[in-house]
């Protein structure tokens, strides 16, 4: 496949909160999209196509929202599509938009993802209305326990991730949870939701949206602000259940990581990546993905948490935005990772900016950890090369 460079030239997000009752669903996506256009100094008429993503429709009970949102997103008369890959959808939506640019199909693509959880009941939606629903945490809890048992990680690793991400969120004005008093003590004393996951080790339920404008090299050169260049993309999936599946280190996650590293020319992710936004809805997923994506060796992921490497000032900052643990409009959560990584390499992350961030990794996963979407973005097309 012939491919040309693609870059992010506009990023916008809403304030994420428990309930955005001041806006409708179209109002919510429009707010994020308008901010992305303003950031790129473009008008709605400059956009060639719109790619929308969200998690399952039962979460709000609004079926096929892409039909009624075409108006709000200025998509009438233009190509518009909706992407769905469960929780990873925000990531895969951004990648579909990127590929439309890289293949030369369109010059400027607007991509938007959202969830308005307060309008529905995600537990009910996930359970299909039936009794016995376990919630996502109930499915993932045994896998985290397996990780803990296999890696020998001390129990406070999960608490440390929960504290770190909430401290980071205090530096991000858009984050849903601002918990300045967060502490190890508070996390540990919070109710046990799904052993080993405490309430404060879990993501919130949020209303929010995020949008990006992607364009080609010519478009990026005309952009008013620094672009974030897409250096590599990858998507992978696998069966959600089969006997003997390695749920702690799903094969699709390993392959997706290697594919995106190869595409970006990364041979040593720990050294060559300056900042990572990983989909961590439950605290233990930070060390699990560090190992599951071969950023850390087996049993080394939790040590990166323990020694502070993943803090905003560490050598491998993870989720400086506060991550999914601080804002979780599910359909948007994956794209927020992608947008935050782009903000970092543009140097526009504000108070949660990581110093000298030139290469950023974003990852989203979904379903029973069976969908993966990743990109590597850089401050220049040669950002990885300059790192060597």
């Amino acid at each position: 496949m012939s491919s040309q460079a693609a870059a992010v030239i506009g990023i916008g997000q809403t304030k994420h909160k428990k309930k955005r009752d001041d806006v409708s669903l179209p109002g919510l996506v429009r707010e994020a999209a308008q901010r992305a256009l303003d950031d790129a100094e473009l008008n709605w008429t400059d956009i060639d196509a719109v790619v929308l993503g969200k998690a399952p429709d039962p979460f709000e009970g609004v079926m096929m929202p892409e039909l009624s949102m075409a108006d709000a997103l200025g998509a009438n008369g233009k190509p518009m599509m909706r992407v769905h890959t469960a929780g990873s959808v925000g990531g895969s939506t951004a990648l579909v938009a990127t590929h439309l640019v890289q293949t030369g199909v369109h010059d400027r693509v607007l991509t938007v993802a959202y969830e308005k959880q307060a309008e529905g009941n995600a537990q009910w939606g996930l359970a299909g209305g039936r009794s016995g629903g376990m919630g996502a945490g109930g499915i993932f809890a045994p896998w985290m326990r397996t990780y803990i048992n296999k890696s020998g990680a001390p129990e406070d690793i999960g608490w440390k991730v929960a504290v770190k991400d909430r401290q980071n969120a205090c530096k991000n004005p858009y984050a849903h949870l601002h918990l300045p008093d967060i502490s190890i003590e508070k996390v540990k004393e919070s109710p046990m939701l799904w052993d080993p996951i405490h309430f404060l080790e879990s993501c919130p339920s949020s209303d929010g949206a995020v949008a990006m404008v992607l364009t080609n090299e010519a478009g990026a050169k005309k952009a008013p602000r620094k672009p974030a260049w897409v250096l590599g993309t990858a998507m992978r999936s696998e069966l959600g259940t089969f006997p003997g599946r390695d749920t702690v280190r799903p094969q699709a996650g390993v392959e997706c990581a290697h594919m995106v590293f190869d595409a970006a020319g990364i041979t040593n992710p720990r050294e060559q990546i300056d900042i990572a936004e990983l989909y961590v809805p439950f605290s233990w997923y930070e060390p699990m993905w560090l190992e599951g994506h071969d950023i850390a060796g087996p049993g080394e992921g939790w040590r990166m948490v323990e020694d502070g490497s993943t803090q905003i000032t560490g050598d491998f900052p993870v989720n400086p935005s506060g991550g999914v643990l601080s804002s979780n409009p599910i359909g948007a959560s994956g794209m927020l990772r992608f947008a935050e990584a782009a903000l970092q390499v543009r140097g526009e992350a504000g108070e949660h900016q990581v110093a000298d961030a030139h290469v950023g990794l974003a990852q989203a996963y979904g379903g029973a950890a069976q969908y993966f979407a990743m990109w590597v973005v850089g401050s220049s097309l040669d950002a990885v090369g300059a790192r060597k």
Binding site: D21, G61, E119, N121, Q123, W124, A127, G129, R130, S131, G132, G133, M134, G135, G138, I139, A141, P142, W143, R145, T146, N149, K150, P191, M192, L193, W194, D195, L239, T241, F242, P243, G244, R245, D246, T247, V248
Partner: protein
């Protein structure tokens, strides 16, 4: 068919009786009959005879229960010739204790456990119940045996094509055998 009964899902928000109404819960219910595929039908028929069956892949030897009629890893078909009868005793390999966050239609009100099992002689089952076992006693390594629904009460009306979690009409759950717990080396890595 609709039901507008209010679920108790927003107890963390104080309700101001004078506030304007900004939304209403409106739940839908859809009843339908699912056509059961032939291999799942055989599985259901066996449950009525108090037998637990699976298909063993002729290539990789993985055991699927309920059978799928194929091995998705090897992409080969499995047939009656690959059917095996599984033992109804095994080890709890992993578990989840769910504290229910009430949603409409949920019957559980107290914390409940779902366990994964590794059966003696091979085969794994997930999302199984341990009725009568206090959740704080649920642990990996427990040895358990099946509890069939009694004759006359046993049914397979709730068996669907969507794997486990729907055979409660035939299998009440599993009960501890009282034997010493298994060594972790016998079951670690077996989440499914």
């Amino acid at each position: 068919m609709t039901d507008t009964k209010q679920p108790d899902s927003k107890q963390d928000e104080a309700v101001d009786p004078n506030a304007p109404i900004t939304g209403m819960d409106y739940f839908m219910k859809l009843e339908y009959h699912e056509l059961i595929c032939p291999v799942v039908r055989e599985f259901a028929d066996a449950l009525m005879e108090k037998r637990l069956i699976g298909h063993k892949c002729p290539k990789c030897s993985l055991i699927y229960s309920p059978p799928r009629g194929y091995c998705p890893i090897c992409t080969v078909q499995t047939t009656k010739a690959d059917e095996i009868e599984m033992q109804t005793r095994g080890i709890v390999t992993n578990y989840t204790v769910v504290t229910p966050v009430q949603y409409y239609g949920q019957e559980e009100t107290e914390p409940f456990a779902k366990v994964s099992l590794q059966l003696d002689g091979g085969g794994n089952l997930s999302l199984q119940d341990l009725p009568g076992v206090p959740v704080e006693q649920v642990r990996s390594g427990m040895r358990v045996e099946i509890v069939w629904a009694p004759d006359g009460e046993r049914h397979v009306d709730d068996v669907t094509n969507r794997s486990w979690g729907s055979a409660e009409g035939a299998i009440r759950g599993w009960k501890p055998t009282g034997e010493p717990d298994a060594d972790p080396s016998e079951y670690s890595d077996k989440v499914f």
